[in-house]
Symmetry: D2
């Protein structure tokens, strides 16, 4: 079982994570982790924070001589900003920002000022998810599994819908998205997104959007239909929905499938030289809550960031008076920067599911097991034609 | 902590569940449970099964003299159908139905025929979720929390979008939906949905749709922003996505929020006689992954059932030949029947979160705690105006 | 992950369990399960209950055509006694029996009479643990792992201490213990135990004792030292201590090791034709919380049953008056009957740990993985002699 | 739910922990934490390490302005020793020390040298458990619950057995134990223990012993009898057994109870002015796996440390040759230093169980709930005398 906890506040000394359950023998470098941290810091429509600090994950346990040891991996990222907050008086924040945890956190924990909510609820926390995700990504890559993602919409600007996307095209999308500062693979749409974001910045407002993440070369058989909390679909949806500002998740064709007849949304099967191949991938690689060997696709709906330069109506909790919200530095459009976060959560869930399938405690132990997995191939399936009886042991 | 496991196959002797963690002293009757089981069996567009068997949950542990005892609750529902399957030879099923767990389950578990997947992957399993949900519903009702749901679309037929819905209107929707055999609160749309379903039945096809579930009078402060897997939003999304044929979940305005500027999707606050009241509920009652006291709203996207009378292209795994799928009795449109299933999962998650917030082991112990919960009220919040310092213990 | 829940009361209609996570393809028969259930019902010093009912586990899910399917396994055992309790008025029980959950359960759950504690706290619940254990035992046996147990003391009558016990001798002990109605492998001690128990019965009192359980042929590498809750030692101790009337657990030489110098309690190593062999097994097969390939040995201390024919001083909670406890049918010495219960918990923990090590979803998938496990053999270890550096990624 | 993970190696840059689930509003100071860290570093029979480094826990998240915020608490302790290891070549360690995780860890994780096991398996890890325990201790103290511990034996030198110990005497024991460098409350026995340890040091050997930990003023009703993994007894035993070198755990009179008749080991009840008071505490405060309001007592058996100056027989895994073990700096008797570690695990389990009982998210929210808990008092129990019927909902 893979598990991780994160800790730390937005303006505290550092943020931290412990990732427990990663097998031994995985090669990991700072470059691997920091690359994803940097991706999280870059994107058109960001506010100023990523200019002040370039995140670096310091590994203090679980990785020695460049390889995981099987021991829990502890990582921290410093908040360079902390110095500015450390030794000064903090003015209590008493005006909740609609759409944030300011008020709900204060009600829950009994805070007498709202900054205590803000400090932990901040998306700064996702830095550690990205660090965890980078290690899970390296693990998955050992088995040829590739995770990528890109922006598919910002506000009402969206890429054109596509039919079945070949694996090579997904790889191409990943590469092209990285070249775009809105993380969209389509240059024309990228330009429209940039225009859209520029306009929203000028109107002192914010914009959300939709991110698609894709996992390639996932073997069939991860997750299970047998118990509600073991479905891979459920685990992916729960993990993605845990990201800040997330309001929706869909798998495969998602909501679109509710509008079409059953005969047009299932993925029909062909026998191609013994391989069982689907003609389409409406299901997004998941049938019965189990991976089917096709690319796993998920779309994540991020609402616009709740902190806007144009203030919103709120109430000063210290006085009861109606007031406007006060601005706290933030992004105008977080969607491009959120792509590696959504990828990270998908990496984590798939790494967990793969460890469950393969068992074992080291890459060396897992590799031959992976090679021997049953595939969607006639040769592997050995169907019987022998009648049988239920014969419950009643 | 509340937890449950289910067991049993579609045509086995019975299906079963154990629900662990329900406090003592909750009044539960067979009528309460069977009412939801009946709701799950009724709906326009259903196949034949609910005509043969009317489900009854037999409680064999954890409820004595009409009240829960705090001990785990075990329930079973008989499969009346079992008699027909018990003593006969089962012909191996070797043609996977696209969109089902037939093939993925067989690859995962090494089955040499596909019925073993089907038997457990069948939505028959949701019977026990509904039974569990009925008990959780009774528990929530002790604290005034009401959960309901309805169909908002079938295929491309959908109810008109609505702005802020008052609590009374939600109650009205729940009541009217129950009078409709498509479980839609709007009579005109209901008629269109019926027409749509009738057409799909005639074309031997299937249709999915969207269900909205709503929780009223949920106190603020359930769930937490402090750790990724404790967000109520994540737990709701994971639980709903675990339902059969589910491909999408959205909370509040969900995907719609990705298309609008930030200033129009947050819920601005007013002070109404000391109560902090939001003017809208775009957030669906969840801010920062924590309930905010507004109605919690979630929408669930069900794809059309994968079993269609019009067969699909598949492969006979015993021979490798291309063949058409064979029909297995099923619904044409499961959406109306799925409403109580989605409600059940929401009931479970909220009961779990409420137990976490209240602690305690009996209704009597929890009642005064509930009454003392901090509310979204100025009187409860006591905001300080005293400057403070971070002062980490570094 | 393997997990199970049990439910049901001592005089309710039945007791039940759901075991989730057992791989597919394991052959299981009623005979296997009922054999252990029968062992649990037999033993010198038992009260009358096992004469009235012979337990049979009815499997209603997860095992079809004699093999597990990977789906959760649901089992129930009827309480034949229930008929006598069902339709009669239950006189409230208001005198707590010292040493039972009577009073603590009532305080916790707010019961207004004590039978509600008794009904669930009864050791009748262990019937389902034994059923779960029987399936885990069958699973372990597929990999050659054998679990057995025996009584090592009853009151102050104990078997003689022994040094290193060869595997063949353990097998012999298991066999001979089954022939003894006190489940002790040594005939002379058995006779003394019987005499002791007879005397305690005559004095209307009860006696506890110590049970040793042993797991043979466990591969090295189960459990882990890397996180506190993953140590196999911790998991075994927690599982055994969860059994009714349990007051102590020791692993290997346990408390004895606290009295001896370090050089005499460690198990020194030899190279025997490439195998790394320990000369002794003081550690009970566990080093650093990880199995080392030697027999895993644990001893469980059961206190005497708290229900005694000679009454104890208590208080009538309805009146506040000092009174004597009332007798509720019970054993005089439960130790012989508890042997299969302790075995069952060890079987469960080891099956869980083995599934974690092997991963996979079917016996067929796991068998080759088991065969390839690294052993305590020079050939498997490939020690490097190359200097290296810590090189943390700080 | 309270949970924690630790990470870090013995000679790595630092060790770390994240504690998730601690309520908000708890006052915590560095002095509180470091006091327990210091206790862990002091004790007669220690090796040299505690002389080089005095541990200080640096809190980097979850505690602001001296109070917990409800957010996860992250702490690190530097390994001052690290500097000496960081930049030098590490000579591979190929001779496993019997009794350690050296070999089992290497088999499990596929290490090609043994230091990788040693680094994480080292009891250095317990530093973070003590830090976690210190915070849990502060939390418990808010509710008047006091945890303490002391050495009861070192080798064959043990304190005299005692009957019922009044709470005041336990407090006295705790205080006196702190004044003893072997952490034993009895001065005469302390002197004998010192002599014993001195002798073992001279003979270049090691010694273990037994520690007793006690929790005072624990309210009745923590833990539950209803499910095997919810018994407080099981959770305490599992947590204690997870400590390094632990081979046995007993609760209350433990193994002694196996030798006495039932009538003499149960704790008879009296009504003392409406309070239900036990005359003895053989049960160690736990009946039916639930706290009963009496002091919770547990004894932990630590084997002698496996690293001895007098070498043991082993095998050089690089050559296969029989060799002697090599000395790695270590304690001669770890028992006095282990007292705060065993206390820490008890603090953690009880804090977790109390949070479960009280629910809530802040000290302020929990305090009135604690005050209203049902006690072992006639006034609180309201026993009914009304006959009733089982009436299962079958």
């Amino acid at each position: 079982m893979l598990r991780f906890l994160t800790a730390g506040e937005s303006h505290g000394p550092s943020i931290a994570t412990i990732l427990d359950g990663m097998p031994a023998g995985l090669a990991v470098s700072s470059a691997m982790i920091d690359r994803d941290l940097l991706r999280r810091q870059q994107g058109y429509g960001s506010g100023g924070r990523m200019k002040i600090e370039r995140d670096h994950a310091s590994v203090t346990g679980g990785i020695m001589a460049g390889r995981t040891t099987g021991a829990p991996i502890s990582m921290t990222v410093e908040n360079l900003d902390h110095a500015k907050w450390r030794d000064r008086d903090i003015e209590p924040m008493t005006i909740p920002r609609p759409g944030h945890a300011d008020l709900t956190g204060a009600i829950k924990y009994g805070y007498r000022e709202l900054r205590l909510s803000l400090e932990r609820a901040s998306a700064r926390e996702t830095t550690m998810r990205v660090a965890v995700g980078a290690i899970c990504r390296a693990f998955l890559l050992e088995f040829g599994i590739v995770i990528g993602g890109y922006t598919v919409s910002v506000g009402d600007v969206a890429v054109a819908p596509s039919g079945l996307v070949p694996v090579a095209d997904y790889l191409d999308r990943f590469a092209r998205a990285e070249e775009s500062d809105v993380r969209c693979y389509d240059p024309t749409t990228s330009e429209l997104m940039r225009t859209k974001i520029r306009a929203i910045m000028e109107s002192k407002d914010t914009l959300g959007g939709i991110i698609e993440v894709v996992a390639l070369h996932v073997p069939p058989g991860l997750g299970s239909h047998v118990q509600w909390d073991r479905k891979l679909s459920s685990r992916i949806a729960g993990a993605i929905m845990s990201i800040h500002a997330m309001k929706g998740v869909e798998l495969g064709d998602g909501f679109l499938e509710t509008r079409l007849p059953g005969t047009s949304v299932q993925d029909e099967l062909d026998n191609v030289l013994g391989d069982l191949v689907t003609r389409s991938n409406h299901a997004g690689g998941l049938e019965g809550g189990i991976s089917n060997g096709q690319p796993i696709t998920a779309r994540a709906a991020l609402k616009p960031i709740a902190t806007t330069l144009n203030p919103l109506d709120s109430v000063d909790l210290a006085t009861g008076h109606p007031v406007k919200t006060q601005y706290e530095r933030s992004d105008f459009c977080q969607v491009p920067r959120a792509v590696p976060i959504v990828e990270a959560m998908l990496c984590f869930v798939l790494a967990d599911a793969l460890i469950e399938k393969l068992g074992g405690d080291s890459i060396d132990e897992m590799k031959p097991r992976f090679a021997a997995l049953r595939r969607a191939r006639l040769d592997d399936l050995h169907m019987d034609a022998v009648p049988w009886r239920f014969d419950y042991l009643t």
